[in-house]
Each structure stands twice: as C-alpha cells, then as structure tokens.
Amino acid sequence: MIRLGGKVALITGGTAGIGRAAAEAFVREGAKVVITGRDLERARNIQNLVDGGGAIYVRQDTTLEAEWQTVIDATLARFGRIDILVNNAGRIIVKPLDKLSLDDMRLMLAANLDSTFLGMRTAWPHLVRAGGGSIINTSALMGEKTASIGLAYSAAKGAQQALTKAAALEGAAVNIRVNSILPGLIWSDGWKRMAGPKPDETKANLGPTIPMHRVGEPAEIAEAMVFLASDEARFITGIDFAVDGGKSAA
C-alpha cells in the first residue's frame, strides 16, 4: 500500500540521520519530497533519492527567515503543492549550567524553536490551500525528560513541543494536524560522531539504559513519521509521540 501517494513533503535536515531515513521512507510510500540541509557535502547522502526522481534537494539554513521562502517557492515550482512539513533540522549543545553562555542558549532557541516557528508560519497558507496537511516537528525525549547538562537543549525542545500544541489548536479548524515526535536514544550520525573509536561497543553499552535494551535506529523514527504524515493518523493532532524503546515510561 502506498500511504503517501500524491502528497508533497518538505523535510528539513533531511540529508543525514533521522531526516534522511524519513526522506527514504516518504519516497518509498509514494510522496514527492523536498529535502533541505545546510551542508552541500551531505547532500550526496540523498543523491539516490534525487536520481530516482522522487526528491529534490534545496540548501537551507532553517534559522534564516529569507531561506524559508526560497524553499517553499522551490517546492511549489517543482511539485505544485505542499501537504507535509517535517521540521526535523535541529541542533544540540550539552554543557553544565555554569559553562553555558547566552549565545549557546540563543543558538538552541534559533535552531530548535525559531526554525520550527518559521517553517510552520511560511508553509501554513500553502497547507491551507492544499485542504489541510500534516506538520511533524522533531523534538526529543530531552524535551520531556532532562539531564543536568541538557538545560539549553531541553528548554528549547520543551518550548518547541508547546509551540506544536498551540499550532495544533490553531490548525484544527483548517485540517492542519501538528504533532511532535520525541526520539529517544537513536543511533544517528550525531551519535556515531560522538561514539569514539569503538562505536559498536559504545552502542552496546548504551543499550541497557533503555527498557528495550537497545539503541534505536533512524528508520524506526521514520516509520512513526510516515504514520503521522499519512491519513491513517487523521484524528491525531497535538501529541507528543515518543519513539524511545520504553524510556519515557521509566
């Protein structure tokens, strides 16, 4: 079954990790996908999707207001409409409270909160024109459960989740559904970079901290995004959808 046939999706931060897995899953399900990312080099990761004809890449820094209009214009020019927005791009800083700077906090707010706000605001009229749509904002389990070194990131993700709920209430009248996805510990490119010289060992050691005793994979988040983007989730809006191997229950 093609669950996203005929739909056009915009996925930010889509050249790596969870975003890339989402782009693959969305294309597989029949969607046309606009993939954005800051790093031209990483765009090579999704060249297969572009070559397949189901996707295009647009370079974007999601914190810059002007670039949002460019991306939306490119989406409409290529595919004529927009049904799904995945605000997936985000940044993380972990530092003890007394080492955090105001610039750190501002970067967290710009990259996780302002970018989501800008994406929703810019896409909104086009979703309305399409007769409604689905917005998926990638938050994090850290937006709900935190740690001492996660202050700036948790605050920004918590703020993003509340923004999502406010948007869900506004969107309900125009058939725009807005949900948060809260990935738990997912073996994304970010984790791989931080994993040190023996990544497999690091991954195995992290497993027992999770009720399901393993780290998640980007594709497992992508499948949850497909569900939220699809009409199967047509009565679901404003939720915090944790995909975390049971971590949020503990």
């Binding site: 207001e65 003890p96 409270l97 007394d98 955090l100 105001l102 906090m105 501002r106 707010l109 909160l113 302002d114 706000f117 800008l118 929703m120 605001r121 909104w124 009229p125 937006g143 709900e144 935190t146 740690a147 001492s148 070194i149 996660g150 202050l151 700036a152 948790s154 605050a155 920004a156 993700k157 918590g158 703020a159 993003q160 989740q161 509340a162 923004l163 999502t164 709920k165 406010a166 948007a167 869900a168 209430l169 506004e170 404003g238």
Partner: protein, 246 residues
C-alpha cells in the same frame, strides 16, 4: 511565622502583579527583598509597600550585564542571596495566529521570558554557589505549557521551556551538592496575570469555576522557597484551580 527571617530574596519583574504579591509575601515572612524590574518606579513602589527591608533596582532581564549588576547589588545591600524568584510576563499584545506572527513578535516574547529565565538561572545559581550558603530559585511561568492556547504560541513555548529549564537546573544543582533547589510555579487563570485576559470569559473551563489571585501564586512560591520544601527540587507546581487535571 517567619520562614524567611534573616533571608534575602531577589524578585525579577517584581513590579508585575504577581511580582508585587511575591515581594509582599516574602517580606511579610521576614525576608529582605530586592525588587528588580525594568519599571524602576514600579519596583520602588513595590519595595516601599513591602516594608523597610526592601529595596528596588532596575533590571533588563535579557541582559547579562544587567543581571550581574543586580545580583552584585543585592549581595552588596544584604550580604546574602537565599531566594531568587523569576516571573515571566511577556506576551503578544493581542492573540495572534502563528501564520500572522512576525519573527520579531515571536522573539520579543521568548527573549524576555526564556532568555530572561535562563540568565536568572545561569548567573543566579553561580552567585549562590559563590556565597556557598545554598538557596532556592522559583520560576513563575504559565500553566499553558504542556497544553496549548491558540493565539499565544510564543507564551506557550516559554511556559514549557521554563518548565524544562527548571528541571535541568535542579538536576545540575542537585549533582553539585550545592544545596540550591530549583522549582517552578505554573500560573492558571490568576487575576492580574496574563492568563486572566487569555482566558477571559472562560472561567467555566476551570474546575473551581473561578479565577485565582496573585496571593495564591505568592503562597506557592513561598512554600517552594522555604525550608518546608527542602526535599523538593525540579518540581513544577500548578496553581490553576484544577485546569490541568481536567
């Protein structure tokens, strides 16, 4: 009863309706209070009304320099800092849908509330650690944090951002064993608070079927700031007439 006898408190946005009530409450229970607000005249009036052990100072909550100055001035004036209370007060001028909100409007609210609370925690905790006698921070933010409110997206975002910031800062202080506790009070439909206007005509949504007063917030702040709550940290206390339970 003087739970705050010999203690020193700093209240940011102390000239706001909730701020004034918190200042009055802490002072009544024995605290010396520094009332900080961008509105210096309002802060002076609040300090005067709260008694002879209170002083006022101008504060720009979004400025590092201003926080450093105010924290130093508080310790210079009273030799301690036991209690720090922040009150998030910035909102849109009127309810505004996301699609009609400019980035500038959005950021005006988040800068004041979220960056303001961040700077309070960041510099307030460091000052308390320097002093070494422990203390308590109470952040006052909106109950519309884990639930939304159409037309007030930025304010919602601040409510939950401050909620998470409170928890993380609490864990940081607990791990450091610095005897600093960090908690938050969530404001429901309270007369004088932004929520009053946001919920105008919707008192029936509140289980208690009425609004609360700023003194209800002040009482909760006083509990969390006092030694009575000495095993309570990282906790978010809703004062909302049952709103979040419904």
């Amino acid at each position: 009863m003087t739970r705050f006898g010999g203690k020193v408190a700093l209240v940011s946005n102390g000239a706001s309706a909730i701020g004034v009530a918190v200042v009055r409450r802490l002072a009544t229970e024995g605290a010396s209070v520094m009332v900080a607000d961008a509105d210096l005249k309002g802060a002076e009036a609040a300090a005067r009304a709260a008694g002879p052990h209170c002083k006022a100072i101008a504060l720009d909550v979004a400025s590092i320099e201003s926080w450093e100055k105010v924290l130093s001035a508080t310790v210079d004036a009273f030799q301690r800092l036991d209690v720090l209370v922040t009150v998030a007060t910035a909102t849109y001028d009127k309810p505004t849908p996301i699609a009609d909100t400019s980035l500038a409007q959005f950021k005006k609210v988040t800068t004041h509330n979220l960056e303001g609370a961040f700077l309070a925690l960041r510099y307030g905790v460091v000052k308390m650690r320097e002093l070494g006698h422990g203390g308590a921070v109470v952040n006052v933010a909106s109950a519309f944090a884990t639930v939304g409110l159409a037309g007030h997206a930025a304010y919602n975002a601040c409510g939950n951002g401050i909620r998470m910031m409170t928890k993380a800062a609490a864990l940081s202080c607990a791990e450091s064993k610095d005897k600093i506790r960090i908690n938050a009070v969530q404001v429901g439909m309270i007369a004088g608070a932004p929520e009053q206007a946001m919920m105008a005509g919707r008192a029936s949504h509140v289980p208690l079927a009425r609004g609360g007063g700023v003194d209800d917030i002040a009482a909760a702040v006083a509990y969390l700031a006092s030694e009575e709550a000495s095993y309570v940290t990282g906790y978010i206390l809703p004062v909302d007439g049952g709103l979040l339970a419904a």
